[in-house]
Symmetry: C2
Subunit: 225 residues, 2 copies
């Protein structure tokens, strides 16, 4: 269970303070599929970064399974993140001097006790699921925008994460590839994963069990869809 | 007038050759608005890079206003590009250590005879048109994905280019911001600019005067829309 109480996030740049998030109250149950939408700059990626322990809130409290994440030391935060959270970044964030398969395998190398053979198999399966097996040995710079996005999706799902945070996972994709990515997410959800997905695509937002809208850093609607 | 005759583009990586484009025959008249769509990896960005003199074809001939672009030396290519072509990159390609307004002003500094006052005014107008004036002094890393995209659009249109090449200019935007970008492009078109836009969004593709479909590097359809 993910619980946000009174969460705010401010960024300071020179003389300007930007309130990216304010007074966010949100609980996400195990196995829920939540879709997050809202205008450009409304705080969606910031919310996902806090949920994924990639950033810390300026105000408020964030608990994972009842535990206050502010009390976790950096090592413990990394353990929780690598063990249970998969992240699909809006800007893909692939590592330029690693091949496609090395990028997908990287998060798995943080998992203790995973034999090399299992790692190899998971990488192959994940690349196959996004139709990118034929480019396993290429570098990110040799791929198109949509191909890079598909590799980013494969990297996030290869480890069967308990929690998947997806930031516009289909933004650069045509409908056929977009549908394939959604099927992958829905498959993970059917297996019990908790998913938070940012999307501007209304058809994909409808696949979620709940829709959350952000506007200027505040929650606009917390309804059932 | 942009004319592509038998254009092909191959990429070589280690032992693999990827045919990104093959046998492309395409003429684009002055003042046309052409939309380009097709699956991820089908060659759309490669086609735009060739049209924008950012890459050279492996086969075939590309003429701008009757002139064979293969005969242009690098300096002349840069002059033609900076004088007449605006480019909105799929990955934005903003320069990280320049502020938003410096990024938007950069292409204008290549134009001879443009007084500083005019440059400043064009920058302010372009940022205003994409609702980003309030972030003029921030750096790209301090912006959301959609905000960076809007700055990339402002940079491409500030100089009122004769030819605008837009690679999924609304991919990271909500519908309100997406519509604002499209209005900007339609305004340029109304003033006589030639536009080639890659998009996965069928509503926006319909705004074009012609739709071109790419599939595995080949033109599938060259119809009127
Ligand atoms: N530098 C490169 N080296 C090797 N292959 C490349 C390179 N750039 C592009 N390609 C390949 O050329 C093909 C066409 O790429 P392109 O970027 O034009 O696709 P696209 O239609 O824009 O796709 P998307 O919708 O995913 O952005 C792809 O298979 C891609 O992997
Ligand atoms: N490092 C930073 N420094 C300053 N401001 C920031 C920083 N990161 C984000 N912001 C600001 O915080 C606000 C929220 O950004 P966020 O990336 O969460 O938006 P978003 O909803 O994901 O938008 P988009 O749909 O454009 O991706 C924006 O106004 C943005 O400019
Ligand atoms: Mg975002
Ligand atoms: Mg592309």
């Amino acid at each position: 269970l993910l619980e946000l109480r009174g969460i705010g996030k401010n960024f300071h740049t020179d003389d300007v303070e930007t309130r990216a998030l304010a007074d966010i109250e949100l609980s996400i149950g195990k196995g829920e599929f939540v879709s997050i939408s809202g205008p450009s700059g409304s705080g969606k990626s910031t919310l996902l970064s806090i949920l994924g322990l990639l950033d810390v809130p300026t105000q408020g409290e964030y608990r994972i399974d009842g535990q206050d994440t502010a009390k976790l030391d950096p090592t413990r935060r990394a353990v929780v993140r690598n063990k249970s959270i998969g992240f699909i970044f809006q800007a893909f964030n692939l590592i330029g001097d690693l091949t496609v398969e090395e990028n997908v395998a990287l998060p798995l190398t943080y998992r203790r006790n995973m034999p090399a053979a299992e790692r190899k198999q998971r990488v192959a399966q994940a690349l196959d699921a996004v139709n990118m097996s034929h480019r396993a040995r290429h570098l990110p710079a040799q791929l198109s925008g949509g191909q890079q996005q598909r590799v980013a999706v494969a990297r996030a799902v290869a480890g069967d994460p308990l929690i998947l945070l997806a930031d516009e996972p289909t933004g650069n994709l045509d409908s056929k590839n977009g549908d394939a990515v959604m099927e992958l997410l829905e498959g993970l959800h059917a297996n019990g994963a908790t998913i938070c997905m940012v999307t501007h695509n209304p058809d994909y937002a409808r696949k979620a069990t709940r829709v959350v809208e952000l506007f200027d850093g505040r929650l606009a609607e917390n309804g059932r869809s």
